[in-house]
């Protein structure tokens, strides 16, 4: 061993006191569980993006590719997973719109606009946009 080799530890240095936190610390309390569930709604978001891209590919590749995509989407397991993912996607939307007034305070003159109005405007916009897209897709 050469003299230049550095020691792997420094002597008499105290160990940091850190409490070990387990993987499932958030299961013990309902608000923590809700927080983690809210963060995990990002997984259904990504899942529906993947399905959207697959749909675009299918439509681009022609009617027979679209038929194959439609058959896959009709599989009972697919419908079950999508139904479950849809519930969590709704949870994402609702928690997001409720958070918006807390993240951004809008002032009208000197007074802040009440949070409930901003959340209300978000929900109103959401329904309007949803009805618009539904009409675009179904009306031909």
């Amino acid at each position: 061993m050469s003299i230049a080799a550095k020691p792997a530890h420094s002597e008499y240095h105290p160990r940091w006191y850190r409490r070990k936190i387990g993987t499932f610390w958030w299961l013990g309390s309902w608000p923590y569980t809700r927080f983690i569930v809210r963060e995990l709604t990002s997984v259904p978001v990504a899942w529906f993006v993947v399905l959207t891209i697959a749909l675009v590919v299918a439509i681009a590749n022609g009617p027979s590719a679209y038929d194959r995509y439609s058959e896959l989407m009709k599989e009972p397991l697919m419908v079950f997973v999508n139904g479950l993912a849809f519930v969590f996607l709704l949870y994402h939307s609702i928690t997001w719109f409720n958070l918006a007034p807390k993240a951004m305070v809008v002032k009208l003159g000197d007074r802040p606009v009440p949070g409930i109005l901003i959340a209300g405007a978000n929900f109103g916009g959401w329904f309007a946009v949803s009805i618009g897209i539904a009409l675009l897709v179904t009306w031909s």
Binding site: T23, I36, T52, W96, I133, V137
Partner: protein, 115 residues
């Protein structure tokens, strides 16, 4: 370096949160539930016409890309803070944002191919 990137990624996360909250549920309801269950049946021609419209494609590009960056940000911090997976931080960072970048490039390529 980290301090410079963080507001940028947070901006993408936030914009993606708005887009995915506004637009994804109705698309999921229509294309993943109502159409497969046979409740509504738009024709292939109609869907193709919709998709051929440049506005639809621009909209889908922005929606998919921002939603993926939203996922990347949230999922990274869920694994880090939520599930306490701290030793794989760099790998998780690369997988999440790398996935979002790859998804953005791929959906852009696919949307350009439609005609």
């Amino acid at each position: 370096m980290k301090r410079l990137e963080e507001p940028f990624f947070w901006g993408l996360f936030s914009a993606g949160g708005v887009f995915s909250a506004m637009f994804l549920p109705i698309q999921a309801l229509l294309f993943a539930l109502l159409i497969p269950l046979g409740i509504i049946h738009p024709s292939y021609e109609h869907l193709h016409t919709l998709l051929a419209n440049p506005i639809t494609r621009l909209y889908l590009f922005v929606l998919c890309s921002l939603s993926l960056f939203h996922w990347a940000h949230r999922f990274r911090f869920t694994l880090f803070d939520g599930l306490q997976i701290k030793h794989l931080n760099e790998l998780i960072f690369t997988m999440c944002y790398g996935g979002a970048v790859a998804g953005t490039l791929y959906v852009g390529y696919v949307l350009l191919r439609v005609h």
